[in-house]
Structure formats: structure tokens, C-alpha cells
């Protein structure tokens, strides 16, 4: 683990050439090191931007210097930010100078770690910083920002309060048995458990969507061989990535590409044609295709619009899918062999070569992905760790409810309380209210330098 009592320095803006680069210093020596660099003897007024010629950096460097006095800073410590021209050479020279004056190069995530240690952020918010920095799609940025603003923390808090409230009443009835009145009636326990269950499962249910937002939606193109899946893939992705040839069964493995589609990051997957394959390699491709379809967030079913539908086509179309499906008739530049309506009301006729229908497909994908942003506009479980812990909490609540309903004779209420305690512990682990272990080290190790 890192020391926490020294002064750290790092470039806080992304590498590469840009307009402005920021070097950030945090710690007890931030002001004095910054002061030497700026050849300034008197203390800075906090939160005032000063234009300064920096000294001793080996090259001419003008910078805007801002001093944040602890605890009113990102990390809760004294912080000095030097904004200079974003030349990697200039920024590296500034960092080097700060190190020469006693600062230490910050490790990944160390600024945010200090913010967490100084109580400026809770764990959920700290994780949100990482996500916000890494966000490439508007939905990712929005979810991370909401989380940083504390919307998830607030939602969790409300559930924790409800669990604590119920536990409190159960505990009171166990600890004060001869008070002559009931702290809670049996029916009330059942109702409270149901209410907690409802709220918690609503939150857990946002996990599927949260995963799509954070990790990207999986858009899987499926169809029998040689209907033009790879051409469609290339047209959507906009690059000649998949091998396109007129021999059936060319795409033997999965081909994927990531792109930002409307609001979302999407991973488009091209699969091998679904049919009884002739050789082992192709059969492996078909098996992978089936697996990819099982994990799709949106499925594009492609059939050749210029030929009669085969038995394999019909089987593919008739199968039940529990994810949104977009039906596509390809080769729309050729004469259609059957009316498009045969595929259903929302079917799209596409020609990859002539760019027909592609915009409709991408619009449909975006609509399908955005479709269920209905119930909770802000709270979204985007983080795998949160999803697991809340799933665990929910399983404890389920267990408590089952314990309480047991047809074989309900267990005494202290066992309900035992489950509630575990559910609470899981919630507390999400915000880091009580955990102070390896978990944290792992979380903070994944930050990019400077944040």
C-alpha cells in the first residue's frame, strides 16, 4: 500500500498533444514545492488562478497556478495545480522538477485514494471517478456522473435504512420481551421484507442495463451462411474487417468491433452461419455463434431477401429470443423474392453495398438499447462489484423471506435478523462503509495516473 503522508505529483491530463496539460501536486509539501517552482515567497490565496513563469524547469514555461487549501480540494489535502502547454516535454519537466523538490510520483489512482481516505468521496463515488475518466459514450459518462453525484449511494442508503429499521424492531422485541407491547407484528415483518425485496430487486435489475452502459452492448449478427452477415457487419462498423467472400461458411470464428453507437458503446459481433456444418472447424464456429447469440443484448437476424427462405432461415426466425431482435432482409439491391412484411412489422431491407437501410438498423439498435431506461432514470448499477454485492444482499433478503414463510413451520425471528445483518453487511461493502481490506487496494490500483 502507498504511503499517505508525503506529497505526490503527476500529470493529471491524458498523454499526447493538446491545448492545456495539468500537473497536480497533493500533500503537505504541495504549497512549498509549488512555491519554489513559481519563485513565490508569500502564500497563495486559495482558489485564485495566478499566471506565473516557472523557475528551474530547464525550459521556458508559463503556467496558470491554482492553489487549493485543505480540506477544500479534490484530495482533501493541500493541492497545487499547474496548467501549462500540453507538450509532453514541458509537463514531464514540471513533474521532474517537483520530484527533485521532494514530491513523489503518484501511483495509479492515488489522488482519488487520498480523497477517499480524507472522506471527500465514498467508495462508490471513488469508483465513479475512474468510470467517468474512462467514459467514451454519453451514457457511460452520464451513469458515472450520477454515481459520482451520489445517486447510487443515496439509493443504497434508503434500502439500508429500511433494513435497519426492520432489524431494529426485531432486535427490540428480542431484547425487551416483557415490555407488554409488540414492537412489530408478524404480518408487518413479511410486508417489510417484501418492500425491501422490491426496492433491492429493482436496483439489481438495473444491473443488466448498467452492464450494457459500462461494458458495452453486445450486438450479434446471426443468420445462415452466405446471407451477407459479414457485409452487414462491415457496413455497420464502417471498416473492411470481416472476410467477405461468396463461399458459404467463410466466417468461422467470431469477429468483433467496438464502436460508439448513438448513446452507447457497442460491441458488434459477426458470427459463423448457423447450419449443420461440414467440417470440425466450421462446427466450432457454429458453436461459438450459438454462445454469442445467447449473450447478445440485441440480435440482428439476417436472411437473404433475394432468395426464397430456407428451412434453416425459418427455424432461425421462429426461435424464441429473450432479447430485442431486429430482422433484416439483405441484398436489397437485388429483386426481393418475397414481401418484406413476411419478416414482421419492424423488418428492415438492407443493402450493405449500396448503404440502403443501414441508418434504420442503427436507429433501431439505439432504440432497443435505450428502450428500458424507464423506471429509474438515474440509478444504474454499472459496476460488476456492486452487482455482485447487491445480488448477495438480495439473496439474504430472499432467504429471510423464505425463512419467515416456511410452510414447514417458520424459523424464529432471530434467524430473520441474522439474514438482515448479512444483507446490511453486503450493502455496507458497496459503499466501503466498513470494509478496509484488499478490496480497496484492488479498486484503487485500476485508476489511471493523475486522477
Amino acid at each position: 500500500m502507498y504511503p499517505t503522508d508525503d506529497t505526490i505529483v503527476a500529470v493529471a491530463t491524458p498523454p499526447g498533444h493538446g491545448g492545456v496539460g495539468v500537473v497536480r501536486l497533493s500533500g503537505p509539501g504541495a504549497a512549498s514545492i509549488g512555491g519554489v517552482m513559481a519563485a513565490r515567497s508569500q502564500p497563495w490565496p486559495p482558489r485564485v488562478v495566478t499566471r506565473t513563469r516557472l523557475e528551474g524547469v530547464g525550459l521556458a514555461a508559463d503556467a496558470l497556478v491554482t492553489f487549493f487549501k485543505q480540506p477544500q480540494s479534490y484530495t482533501g489535502e493541500d493541492v497545487v495545480e499547474l496548467s501549462a502547454h500540453a507538450s509532453p516535454v514541458v509537463l514531464a519537466a514540471l513533474v521532474e522538477r517537483a520530484v527533485a523538490l521532494g514530491a513523489r510520483l503518484a501511483q495509479a489512482g492515488e489522488f482519488t485514494l487520498r480523497a477517499y481516505l480524507n472522506g471527500k468521496l465514498d467508495l462508490v463515488q471513488a469508483e465513479a471517478v475512474r468510470d467517468l475518466v474512462a467514459a467514451v459514450s454519453p451514457a457511460q459518462a452520464r451513469a458515472a456522473f450520477d454515481q459520482l453525484e451520489g445517486t447510487l449511494s443515496t439509493a443504497l442508503q434508503a434500502i439500508a435504512v429500511a433494513i435497519r429499521e426492520l432489524e431494529l424492531k426485531l432486535e427490540a422485541s428480542m431484547d425487551f420481551p416483557d415490555e407488554g407491547y409488540h414492537f412489530i407484528e408478524r404480518g408487518e415483518v413479511g410486508l417489510a421484507l417484501q418492500a425491501i425485496r422490491h426496492e433491492l430487486s429493482r436496483l439489481v435489475a438495473t444491473g443488466a442495463r448498467g452492464r450494457i452502459v459500462r461494458e458495452g452492448a453486445r450486438i450479434v449478427i446471426a443468420g445462415i451462411p452466405n446471407v451477407g452477415k459479414s457485409s452487414l457487419f462491415n457496413a455497420i462498423v464502417g471498416a473492411d474487417r470481416a472476410i467477405v467472400a461468396a463461399t458459404p461458411g467463410t466466417t468461422r470464428d467470431l469477429v468483433t468491433a467496438r464502436l460508439v453507437l448513438g448513446d452507447h458503446v457497442a460491441e458488434v459481433v459477426d458470427t459463423a452461419g448457423v447450419r449443420e456444418g461440414s467440417d470440425a472447424v466450421e462446427q466450432e464456429g457454429v458453436r461459438r455463434a450459438a454462445a454469442a447469440m445467447a449473450h447478445a443484448d440485441v440480435l440482428i437476424l439476417a436472411v437473404d431477401g433475394s432468395r426464397a427462405l430456407s428451412g434453416d432461415d425459418r427455424r432461425l426466425l421462429a426461435r424464441g429470443y429473450d432479447v430485442p431482435v431486429i430482422r433484416v432482409a439483405t441484398k436489397a439491391d437485388l429483386a426481393p423474392a418475397w414481401p418484406l412484411e413476411h419478416l414482421g412489422p419492424d423488418a428492415v431491407a438492407v443493402s450493405a453495398h449500396h448503404g440502403i437501410g443501414l441508418a434504420t438498423v442503427t436507429t433501431l439498435i439505439a432504440a432497443r438499447l435505450g428502450a428500458d431506461r424507464s423506471h429509474d432514470d438515474h440509478v444504474l448499477l454499472t459496476n460488476q462489484r456492486h452487482r455482485e454485492l447487491l445480488g448477495l444482499a438480495l439473496s439474504h433478503i430472499d432467504h429471510a423471506a423464505a425463512t419467515f414463510d416456511e410452510s414447514d413451520g417458520a424459523l424464529p425471528e432471530e434467524f430473520v435478523a441474522a439474514d438482515l445483518q448479512l444483507a446490511l453487511a453486503a450493502l455496507d461493502d458497496v459503499t466501503g462503509r466498513r470494509s478496509a481490506d484488499q478490496l480497496l487496494h484492488e479498486i484503487f490500483a485500476r485508476f489511471c495516473i493523475g486522477k
Partner: protein, 617 residues
Amino acid sequence: MTKSDVIVIGGGHAGSEAAWAAAKLGCSVTLCTLSPDTIASMPCNPAVGGTAKGQLVREIDALGGLMGLAIDATGIQFKVLNRSRGPAVWAPRAQADKKRYSVWVRDRLESAPGVSVVQGQVARLLVSDQRVCGVELLGGERILATTVVVTTGTFLNGLVHIGDVARPAGRHGEPPSLHLGEQLRQLGFTVGRLKTGTPPRLSKASIDFDGGVSSGVFHVEHGDHTPTPLSFLTGPGLANSASCWLLHSTDAAHLTVKANLARSPLYNGSIRGIGPRYCPSFEDKVMRFPDRNGHLLHLEPEGADVDEIYVNGLSMCLPEDVQKQVVASLPGLASATVLRPGYAIEYDFVQPTELRATLECRRIAGLFLAGQINGTSGYEEAAGQGLIAGLNAARLALSLPAVTFTRDQSYLGVMVDDLVTQGCLEPYRLFTSRAEFRLLLRADNADLRLTEIGRGVGLVDDFRWDAFLERRARLTENTRRLTSTTVQLQSKQRVPAIEALKSQSVTLESLRRDGITLLPASRPDVDLTTLETEVKYAGYLRRQDASAKKLSGIENQRIPDGFSYRGLPGFSTEVVQRLEEVRPATVGQARRIPGLTPAAVMLLSIRLAPTTGRKAG
């Protein structure tokens, strides 16, 4: 001038157990008491046990203490509370015959080898070089000792309030300890002030119980059909010889309280000490819960041949004439005679954050504190601390290593850890909800948790040890029988009995009807409860056991004595102050200090970790 290994100041429940434990280890013990007649007296309710407290008494007993045996020998009504709520919250409790209880304990102490009971008031502790070396009595006599256990209860600067009369007293009618309280302040201890109270006592002869029952204002409370003892050593054959009665207060009494509120020192500003929220005075009940139209009161006899009735729930400190009016306005008590008025008492206590988990003061070596002086309330809490303090005072005197108890092992551990990490803002009592591993800390398995430890540290004699070994062997054998015998389920399927028992509809009793024979138990409440609980709730017990073990990482990370928190960056002044007050022995303890954020605890853990990769300085 005499010299003992251990001096115990005070002969209440803490002092008695402390002297008894120290003597068990072979120490010479001087017990200083104001009056041998008040050894193990019960100035408040005449009962031992109850929620969490019953479990605690079983723990004291499992470690060779007096309390369980004393209440079994002198109890007049036995009852297990919480029967419907699950085995870990089943709580044995008994009404005591106060006089006989006190005499029983006094006899034990006076006949214990090594114990001498000295009558006298301790004027001051003899302290040299931050180490205690004896006491000086009020007459000037000095007694030297290696260690001293202070168990002065409510006597430190005690002030008894009845209406507008406040007089210094340790208990009603007994002189307070003024000098000792003063000396503790001078030695630099953080001393606070608490308040507790007790209800009026009525004359049994003046109450028409049968009339009250037949007119429906009293409800009789009997003991359990088969009384459950508090001690593991007590055999079958306990009997209930007394009943209690229950009634509800009415508006007439509430109006009397309201009309005279200005004469209650609780409401006219005379009392500044903080009372327990869990045990409010009758004045508080009436004023704070005006919507309740009746408060529950219990009439409890103070002994088989004693005329006094204790009115549980009616603790108050109004003037005597008002108390009489309140009593007379209660249903069925119109002609009851008040023998003694209730009163409130304010007293000094030492913030227990001054103590180590051995109950030794960090400030003065060899000085141990136990009982109400540490801010606790309750005979059982006092007795438990007395045992720990007496044990460790003796071990220090004998140059043996200290003994502490953990939270996953006992209520003793929970209580001491709460006290030394949290301190007291109000009188502290144990609740089952204070134990995070409650399912493991049951009344039935206190011996399995602690007797072996007690044996190892010198508290458990041969008689108890042999009985324990037999009990443990019976449990093993009975478990084996359940595993190796099959029974037929309703579905006609045959399964091992131990599997069948996991169903809520199957009990050991029903298995016996199905032909399973178990070893005869003299104490089915212990033997069979442990067996049935550990089979039926095995999943829950395993889960708690696992989380107890999982905690042991940072929980047990040691903080060196005298570790310097000052100048540690990242710690606010408030956090440093809390840490310096409490001086936690482990990071686990630090984690439980109020106001310490998880982040601060993590910082501390980092600071204490081996300094790999750290720059020098």
C-alpha cells in the same frame, strides 16, 4: 501492616466475583467492605438473568463464578424468557430471595481459602510511581497488595435524591465514598456522572393479591413448569415458591405524577447525571410517552419470608408523600403500604476507555476497575467484570499472562470490548443485539465456549471440570447416535436422524418417540438444547462462525502500547483525540470507536503494516 496479593474494594456482585476468582487462583485476597451484611446485596430489582444477562450468568458460571450457583440456591421463581424467538435469545431468569442470596455469597467468600473480609472504608489508594501498592483505610490502617480491584458501585460521590431532599449516600441509608472519588480525579482519571433509580417497596401484607386477580386488575405470573437453573452444576429439582403479579398503571397515577412534576429532581434540574434510556423512571414514562394509556408494572416479592414487594417499572424520585399518592392511585393498590420510597442516585464513574480489556487501568499499573464504577448497570454485568478483573489482578500478582475474551466467544468479550472502545454516555447494559455473533453466544453452550479456557487459567476446579467432560462426551455420543440411526420420514423415505432433525416439524422429542435413544441427561435444558440447536440451525451457525473467522485479519492487527497518533497526516484532530482516549489494542478495536471513519481505520492499518516500499522517514 498486612500484605495480600489482591485487595478488592467493595463486596457487591463485582467485588464478590473478583475476590472469588482471585482466591481460586490461589491468591491471598483482602475484601474491604463497609459492612459484611451488604455483601452481594440487591439494592434494586430482586432478580438475576434475563435477555443477554441470563447468557452472561451462564458464562460466569462456566468460568467457575458464584452468581449462577447463588441464584439457583436461593431463587424463588425461575422462568426462561423469549421461548418463541429462537435458541440464542432464550434467556434464563430467576427471582431471588435477596437476603438468602446475600448470605449465601457471604458464606462462600468467608469460607474460601485465602479470602479475608475486612470491614472498613478505603480512604485512598496507595500509589507509587504510577503503580498501585495497597490501600489506606479511613482509620489510617494500611493494607499492602500487588494489585487492587475497585468495585465501589454507586458509592463514589453518591448523592441520593428523594423529592427535594438530596443527601450524600452510597445506597439509601449507607455513607458514600467521598475520598476515593476525589483521589481518582486527582490521579487524572476521566470521571463522569451517571444516574440510576429504584422504585418504592410495598408491604406484601398490605396488598390483597387474590382480590386484585379476581377483579381483573392483577394478572398472576407463574414460573416455568420445569424451572431452568442458571448454573451448569445445578441438578434437577429446583422449585418455584413464589408468584409475581402484573398490572397496568392508569391515568389517575399519571395525573398525580404530572401534577407534582416540579417536585421531581429529574424535572426541576437538580439531577444532572445521565440515566439509562432503556430503563426510564416512571416520571419519564409518563412525560415522554403521553400516548400510552397504561405502563406495565410487575409486583415482585423480595424473598420467601420477606414482607417487601418490589414494584418493577415504578422507579421514581418524587417526594415520599407523592410516591404514596401514586401508589394509592394504582389499580389494586389503594390500601398498599409504602415501606420505603423509591429514589434516584447520582454517582461518579470512570470512563472505561481508561481501561485495557483486562480491566486494568492504563494510567495506574495494577489497578483494576469493575462494575458500576465503569459506567455499567446490572448485577450480572458487574459480576462478569468482577470475574475478569479478579482473574487478571490475580494473574498479574502471580506474574502470569493476562486473559482477555473476544466478541465471538462470549458476552463477557462483547461487554468489555464495548466498554473500552466506546466508553459510556449512559449506564451500559448488555443486550443480545450488541453481539454480532449472537447465534454462537447461547445460554446452552456457554460451558462449551468457556469452561476449557477457565480450566486453563485456573478458575475451574476438578468437580466442574469432570462434570463438563462428561457433558461434552454425552454431546459427542448423542450426535453419533443421531448420525448412525435412520428414521422414516412421512414420505416413507429413511434418512439419518440427524438429517430428519433439520426439519422444523421434527424435534428430539419426536425422534425419541420414533425409537431413537439418547444418553440420559440430568440437564435436558442444556444437553438437548445444544444438540438440537447445533443440528437444526447448523447452516446459520456455520455461517456466523465463518464470518467470525474472516474478521480476524485486521481485527487482530496489534497496535503497540504507546503508539503515537500525533502528527500522523490524514488524521483529524478529533480522530487523534479519540484514539488517544481509547488507545485501542487492535485495529479491530479502533474500528469500533465511534467517530472513526473506515478511511481513518484503513490509514491506521496502513501505518501499522510492515513498511514495505516506504521511504525512510
